[in-house]
């Protein structure tokens, strides 16, 4: 339907705001068409949208503003009531500012505005000059009106409280559900990874058998070759440089193949976790003692922070040491020119935290995301299995591991392990 005017056409159409997930039925839109020198410009005012926004604004006003506006509205209604006289019933309109104040500013303000509403009505009634059969009747009427307002305020406030409680419960349940989904996803991913790695272990054992046999004879034959060259050179221990270099290079290559196989074999070797109470601090202190001189040779300064209040954990000490050793090895390789390695323990609720931190090369965000993936490596000669093994061991201990890293500044690995339950 359009109403024509000289240059503006005004109309009402029906529509549904696109931002609602389900149609709310037929809603009125007001449309303007501006005709300006052969140009037609159409404006659509979505009434529901505007009303919705207005309601949101009104309900989110600060308390003092609500009080002032509600009282002003009451005064306006009172004035209209006085002007229009007794015959024109307006009592129900008082509920508008009262309900609004109650919803936007709470029950206390609602009751206060209800009192003000009843008083306003009483004043307007008094000013109208109507003579009641009994002088107490207007007082009684005002009291009844106040009782009605109070009932509405109480019901509204009870409804609002119930709504908040419901929202709170839904929020809490949603958060719990999200946490559960996250945990299940993590467990699922860990299971898939464990299965993949078990396959790696089985294959590695087979391949190792096939490769290490020839490697065994190559190693022994290299030793024999070394001696043969020595004999040819006159047996005085002065090997020709070229012969020495060749044999040394071959030995280094054999060692490299051996290292790669060792990385794969870690998964095949991983025995079932044998847990027993472990004093993490004492255990780490003892074991790290053996690494100190090796680290110092690489110009890596080792610092430790052990939480003295950390209770024991239930773990397979040897496997746990394998994880620390892997992390330390990575840190050392990330600091080829030396640096600082910090190993610490903390208690966080019912969990023990073991943190290995370095100020080495660090990693990019993309690398951090993939760091525990099997076969992913940032090293030139890595197999990408070290951290996958670490994660596997930690998962088997019912824990998890996190990595934080800043490219060029260093990396931090934190292992979360459950503390022993008190019996």
């Amino acid at each position: 339907m359009f109403v024509s005017s000289n240059s503006v056409r005004l109309g009402v159409s029906v529509g549904c705001p696109h931002y609602f997930h389900r149609p709310l039925g037929v809603l009125p839109n007001i449309e303007f068409e501006l005709h300006l020198e052969n140009r037609v410009q159409t404006y659509t005012v979505q009434v529901f949208f505007l009303m919705n926004r207005l309601m949101q604004r009104l309900l989110s006003l600060p308390k003092p503003a609500v009080v002032v506006l509600a009282l002003a509205l009451l005064m306006l209604i009172g004035s209209v009531e006085y002007t229009t006289g007794r015959d024109f019933a307006l009592s129900a309109v008082y509920l508008v500012p009262i309900c609004w104040a109650c919803w936007a500013a709470g029950r206390g303000i609602g009751i206060m505005v209800a009192i003000a509403g009843a008083v306003t009505w009483f004043m307007a009634d008094l000013k109208s000059g109507f003579v009641y059969p009994h002088p107490w009747i207007p007082y009684w009427n005002a009291l009844m009106l106040f009782a009605l307002f109070l009932t509405v305020v109480s019901l509204l406030s009870a409804f609002q409280t119930a709504r908040y409680r419901l929202e709170e419960t839904v929020e809490l349940r949603t958060a719990a559900l999200q946490e559960e989904i996250k945990e299940r996803k993590r467990l699922e991913a860990a299971k898939v990874q464990a299965e993949r790695l078990a396959v790696v272990g089985t294959m590695a054992a087979q391949v190792a058998h096939e490769v290490r046999n020839p490697l065994g004879s190559i190693t022994l034959n290299l030793d024999l070759t070394f001696k043969e060259i020595d004999l040819l050179a006159g047996g005085n221990g002065h090997l020709p440089d070229e012969g020495r270099t060749l044999v040394t290079d071959m030995r280094a290559e054999v060692r490299r193949i051996q290292r790669v196989i060792e990385d794969y074999l870690q998964f095949a070797r991983l025995p079932k976790v044998q847990r027993q109470p472990v004093d993490l601090n004492g255990f780490l202190d003892r074991k790290l003692g053996f690494l100190r001189s090796e680290l110092e040779q690489s110009n890596v300064k080792l610092r430790t922070h052990f939480d003295p209040a950390l209770p024991s954990i239930n773990a397979d000490a040897e496997q746990l040491w394998q994880t620390v050793l892997n992390l330390v090895r990575n840190s050392r390789e990330a600091m080829p020119d030396g640096g600082e390695l910090i190993i610490g323990t903390w208690r966080e609720g019912a969990r023990a935290l073991l943190r290995v931190s370095d100020n080495g090369k660090g990693m990019t965000g993309e690398q951090v995301k993939r760091v525990f993936e099997p076969f992913f490596t940032t090293k030139k000669e890595g197999t990408g299995l070290g951290l996958a093994l670490v994660q596997q061991i930690v998962t088997e201990h019912d824990g998890h591991i996190e990595c934080e890293s800043t490219n060029g500044k260093g990396s931090t690995f934190t292992i979360f392990l459950p503390l022993m339950e008190k019996t």
């Binding site: 058998h209 046999n213 004879s217 034959n221």
Partner: protein
Amino acid sequence: MKELRDKSVLIVDDHTGMLRALDKVLSREGAVVTCADGAADAVEILTGRKKRIDLVITDLRMPFVTGITVLYAIHEIFPALPVIVLTAFGSADVKAECLRQGAAAFLEKPLDTPQLLTAIAGVFMSQQSSKGKA
């Protein structure tokens, strides 16, 4: 290596390359080496009593009869004969089983000559000390 001089060593391995390399390394140290390319061959040499054997070095994974069976058989028939297990891959469980069956040492390939000789010397030394005690 003086511990190996004139000692008779039986090597059991289905890989001829490994057999040959071990043979040469040990022969150079003065040992008298006998090679067997399988468990059956090894048992025949041992039970034939044609030769005195002082030490057995056996692989684990071999066709038909495994090294563990060889180890078990030797331990039953010749309890005093030291056996070194030299395998390409053995898990912790396999290692424990070998030692339980009486293996004198458990070594993994690849290993270089000094490692092999040190292990053999260790076996002979512990054998001598146990004889001394007896």
